[in-house]
């Protein structure tokens, strides 16, 4: 009875995950969807703790103190970290949590492996036979199933790649780790991957042939120490692969990578579902694996690049090469003073603000909203043009501006905005670069060629705020800055905006 209630709990969990994900993809229901999935998760977790029975022995779980201590510590740290993190640091937080999930999946595989290794890779099955009046207890000793071994290895490899990769992605996003690539790194990566797979296949084969799949087969002695050493070798190589996999990929592509690693962790969680024949882990894991993969592809599409292209990291590598080769005379750019900017903006009819990564770094979203209100009070029509991949993650800008209470209908998506630029007096580009680079349309040699951009050069005036003339993530020069219509306003986005607000008030 109790066990069937657990089945019901898992059913509820699985259904809420699907509904939750569905609702999360619609702005009106997103928050509710998140809550529903969280409730389902709670039901599934509590059900597991109190109702789980071992399939064979029918035993309850023990070590409750450890379990609750773990839940408490993880829960408190998780809540605090999630509550305290700044809105701009959200993407690295997601990456960090994703890594935790991957590590969890890898640890499960390690424990299960040790468990099987301790019993010499055999399952002992007790079966009761009825012989006449008597009941005999036959003890069968079977070699561990290949499926179980494969799942353990898959969980270990995927989980640890996801963990190591997420940690690197996290480090890159908060600037602790710089891009790093060496010649022939892709080949090294391939070699590591093939070694990981080869070792795993070898180990599974070794265990299977020595232990024997039927109880008739003679048991050969199995050197557990040797097998374990190789197992940890696979673990170490997987961690290294995770690091090397993410290392060469440029910061601008991190969202795509995090999304991909996210779906990896989903698959790793599903491996746990196989292992314990646990339906909620299986559905949840596969669901995220599939949805995560699709989301990754959607993100790539928004940048008009293929996933393969991102993974090979040609953005960073090819970009710097093109930048190096294309040091043609760019001409001079012109600078504009704060007071001129203030005048131009105040007497404009329509202003469009293009926020980018620089705004996020400078935490300038509140100052930006203040400027918008001030200009509106002077009768200027102010809107925001949001490029799909502006900021550190798709949708990142929307989240940031939402934090500063910018109204929803002021945010325009790329297509809408592009129609409006022609009738716009001033475009203020705040820390955005590649998403407004006309080379994406005009220069087939450019690494970002083909990426849809915001056509800011259609506006009458373009004011670009940047910290310096340094190229953006893609490492390429931006012709926009050298056009006659464009004026540069150097400085930290937040400071510039505050000064600008003060100037406008003084007018």
């Amino acid at each position: 009875m109790e066990f069937s209630i657990l089945t019901l709990c898992y059913l509820i969990g699985s259904v809420t995950f699907i509904i939750g994900l569905k609702m999360l993809s619609n702005p009106a229901t997103a928050r509710k969807g998140n809550l529903i999935a969280a409730v389902g998760m709670t039901v599934a977790i509590l059900g597991t703790i109190f109702l789980y029975r071992d399939d064979e022995t029918g035993e309850k779980l023990h070590n409750y103190i450890w379990i609750f201590a773990g839940l408490l510590i993880g829960g408190v740290i998780g809540t605090l970290a999630a509550k305290k993190v700044k809105m701009t640091a959200m993407p690295e937080m997601v990456s960090l949590f994703n890594g935790m999930g991957g590590a969890c999946a890898a640890l499960i595989s390690i424990i299960e492996f040790n468990h099987y290794a301790a019993s010499g890779f055999k399952n002992t099955i007790h079966e009761a036979y009825e012989v006449g009046e008597q009941i005999d207890d036959a003890v069968l000793s079977l070699g561990v199933q290949t499926g179980v071994l494969i799942t353990i290895f898959a969980g270990l490899i995927i989980g640890s790649v996801s963990f190591a990769g997420s940690m690197i992605a996290w480090g890159k996003l908060n600037g602790k780790i710089k891009d790093f690539a060496f010649k022939g790194q892709h080949i090294v990566n391939q070699v590591i991957l093939i070694t990981i797979l080869g070792l795993s296949v070898f180990l599974i084969y070794k265990i299977k042939t020595t232990v024997g799949s039927t109880d008739d087969a003679p048991d050969l002695p199995l050197n557990i120490g040797y097998i374990s050493a190789l197992f940890y070798g696979v673990l170490a190589l997987s961690l290294i692969y995770g690091v090397f996999f993410v290392m060469p990929i440029g910061g601008a592509d991190m969202p795509v990578v995090i999304s991909l690693l996210n779906s990896f962790t989903g698959v790793a969680a599903a491996c746990g579902g196989f292992l314990y024949d646990n339906k909620v882990m299986l559905t949840g894991g596969i669901l995220v694996g599939a949805a995560g993969t699709l989301l990754t592809i959607l993100m790539c599409k928004a940048m008009n690049r293929s996933l393969l292209n991102v993974l090979i990291g040609s953005f960073g590598g090819g970009g710097s090469a093109a930048g190096g080769g294309g040091t043609k005379e760019q001409g001079a750019y012109k600078e504009i003073s704060l007071s001129d900017t203030a005048v131009i903006m105040t007497y404009a009819h329509k202003v469009i603000i293009v926020p980018g990564y620089g705004l996020a770094v400078a935490q300038a979203q509140h100052a930006c909203h203040e400027l918008e209100k001030l200009l509106e009070s002077k009768g200027v029509d102010v809107k925001y043009a949001i490029h799909p991949v502006a900021g550190r993650m798709p949708g990142h800008m929307n989240v940031l501006l939402a934090e500063a209470d910018v109204s929803y209908d002021k945010l325009q998506e790329m297509e809408q905005a592009n129609e409006e630029f022609a009738t716009t007096d001033v475009v203020l580009v705040l820390g955005a670069n590649d998403v407004v680079n006309p080379a994406a349309k005009t220069d087939p040699a450019s690494p970002i060629y083909g990426m849809p951009i915001l056509d800011v050069e259609l506006a009458k005036n373009v004011i670009v705020n940047k910290r310096s003339m340094k190229p953006g993530y893609a490492g390429i020069e931006n012709d926009l800055f050298f056009q006659p219509k464009t004026s540069m306003l150097f400085g930290d986005a937040k400071k510039v905006l505050q000064d600008l607000i003060a100037e406008i008030k003084n007018l």
Partner: protein
Amino acid sequence: MEAVLKWLSDNQQIIYIVILMIFVGIEVIGRVPSVLHTPLMSGANAIHGVVIIGAIIVMGKADAGNYVALVLGFLAVVLGTLNVVGGFVVTDRMLEMFKSKKK
């Protein structure tokens, strides 16, 4: 060949779940606007935290004397909980902002 067929029939329930879930996963988020990419990723991130259930099972089955399993299992529970709780709270924080400004 026989082994593969046997494996298929032994695990058919699981195989059906996997195939159907792949399609559900793709279908369910197929039309997400790019505004919601980040929260959706974060929400999906929290959902794969379901791996915590595996950690709890592992922990609960470990022998009281097996300290390696206990410590690793404990670590797995902590990390899994971080993933679940942190994931849902972060997602909620992101979405909260979307809501407050829509009014």
